[in-house]
Amino acid sequence: MIELQNLTAGYREHAVLEHVDLCFPEGNVTVLLGPNGCGKSTLLKTALGLLPPLEGQILYDGTPLSELAPVQVARRAAYMAQSRGIPNIEARRMVLHGRFPYLPFPRRYRKSDHEAVDRALQQADALELAHCRMEELSGGQRQKIYLAMALAQQTKTIFMDEPTTWLDVRHQMEVMRTAKDLAAAGKAVVLVSHDLCLALRTADRVALLSQGRLVQVDTPLHVYESGTLDKVFGVHVCRVCVNGTWQYFCE
């Protein structure tokens, strides 16, 4: 499990987030919620070691992140970035990059790597896209390939930064369903989202960030009932029961 202890994170000595204590348990979808600029992506990047923490520490299964080599981190946590370049390569080749942390020099793919990629493509429902070029794929199809790449990394934790950006409603719901499936399979899924309603519907745990602080960590129901969402976002969040499940909307 990944734990953040008294973490202060930011850029070049400028703290964006201060004194955050948070863990990402396996089998759960943890959604980081908060208004623009509250430090959700900064938190994600710092937890992955992409940004150095300004204070506090990050533990991977009890081991400080600073003591782990980048490859060891990559075998424990995968990252679906918010914005990425689109290389002029085949989708399958892209997914194969997910095996990079397991390849010793001179980086020859083994049978087991190809098998892991096939499984990841299947799990991400992207098998039929395998031989398309990345440039030719739509936003939703690319997202599937990036998900397959993260799955090919075979980590216990997956960080997703705004995975539903640029996607239509159906694809947004598909991504969220996949996040739930991954958590059900025992992975820790950490997700940054701007879509309050979709996030509340999907999350097992919500970590609410505001003005550089972690305000609350709890189940969506408790966070909703506390009224903190209304204060943080400046909207009124409502809840209705549709076909036996709780749906959230804002007014």
Partner: protein, 332 residues
């Protein structure tokens, strides 16, 4: 790499290799005194007349080998720089790598005029200084693609001023300076090429060995790091290779422009963006391109000869402008 995909790309590489061999063949045959294929074959079999043997051994072979090596080195250097800086407009001559190497060569010739073997090392030092300056600007200023190119041009200008300063103080340090500045292979000898040739061959092998790292780096800094790549270290290592390749080429061929820009773009269209193919393709296309331009330079206005750098600039300049306008249209 997918096996089906590899089969599809194989004929393309065969074609590129054939093109390079054909260019080398033309380069061996054509010049002020043309050799027929039969004469060439006779010399290769040890049966040629003395003048043909002399022309081939002391003029054509060094020049052809120099063209092939310098073209391959500059093209691969350009491909590496474009990938590492994530900037398709970057190339050794545009971001100050070539002129950095040129300053290194000028300083070396001024201070150690007899130490020919040190010239590639001096060229590497200058090229590496240039490439690190550009990397520093890219990392610290978060500069946009065009800003980076402009910064590279400013660095290039400063290095060129440095070369001029060295030549003012030590006027004899670079004999045939004008040829060096334009770039040309008219007076190369195997002795001058040999030290640089080793550097180029070793660096080409090292670059191919690091192709996978280049592919991961091309995904962007965050993605590459999250896949376990030591981004900063690999970046500096790749740029050092690019600098060594460009520096080695500059040490005997002068400040050749545009091969490093044109070849990677041509090859990407032919074989895609995967680094191992890109680098191998660049080596073949760069070698063929420079050799063909050199053949054109020595035959177009025969018996007069143009420095190959002029031909390259005449062809490469419009290509660079086309690239700029195409990007502008794409982003409009």
């Amino acid at each position: 790499m997918d096996r089906n995909d590899t089969r599809g790309i194989f004929p393309c590489f065969l074609l590129l290799a054939a093109g390079m061999i054909a260019a080398a063949f033309l380069s061996l045959c054509l010049g002020a005194a043309a050799l027929s294929p039969r004469e060439l074959l006779a010399v290769l079999c040890g049966r040629g007349d003395a003048s043909a043997v002399s022309i081939l051994l002391y003029v054509r072979v060094p020049r052809t080998v120099g063209c092939l090596l310098a073209g391959a080195a500059l093209a691969v250097s350009g491909a590496i720089i474009q990938t590492v800086l994530a900037n398709p407009l970057a190339a050794p001559n545009i971001i100050g790598v070539n002129s950095g190497a040129g300053l290194g060569v000028a300083l070396c010739c001024a201070v150690l005029p007899t130490a020919v073997n040190v010239v590639p090392a001096a060229a590497f030092a200058g090229a590496f200084a240039g490439v690190l300056l550009v990397l520093f600007i890219a990392e610290k200023a978060g500069a946009s693609r065009i800003t980076l190119v402009l910064a590279g041009m400013a660095i290039s200008g400063m290095f060129s001023a440095g070369i001029d300063a060295v030549l003012t103080v030590f006027p004899d340090s670079l004999i045939g300076y004008s040829d060096f500045r334009i770039g040309g292979l008219a007076n190369v000898s195997m002795d001058r090429i040999a030290p640089a040739a080793w550097v180029i061959l070793l660096c080409l092998a090292a670059a191919l060995a690091l192709a996978h790292e280049m592919d991961v780096l091309a995904l962007g800094t965050d993605m590459a790091q999250s896949l376990g790549l030591r981004v900063r270290r690999v970046r500096v290592l790749l740029l050092a290779l690019a600098a060594a390749l460009a520096g080695a080429a500059v040490s005997f061929a002068g400040l050749l422009g545009f091969v490093g820009l044109v070849a990677p773009h041509m090859v990407r269209r032919l074989v895609g963006g995967e680094s191992r193919r890109l680098l191998a393709g660049c080596a073949l296309v760069g070698a063929a391109l420079l050799t063909l331009c050199d053949v054109a330079a020595r035959t177009l206005f025969a018996p007069y000869e143009l420095p190959v750098g002029i031909v390259l600039s005449l062809a490469g300049g419009p290509f660079f402008l086309w690239l700029l306008f195409r990007r502008k249209e794409t982003h409009a």
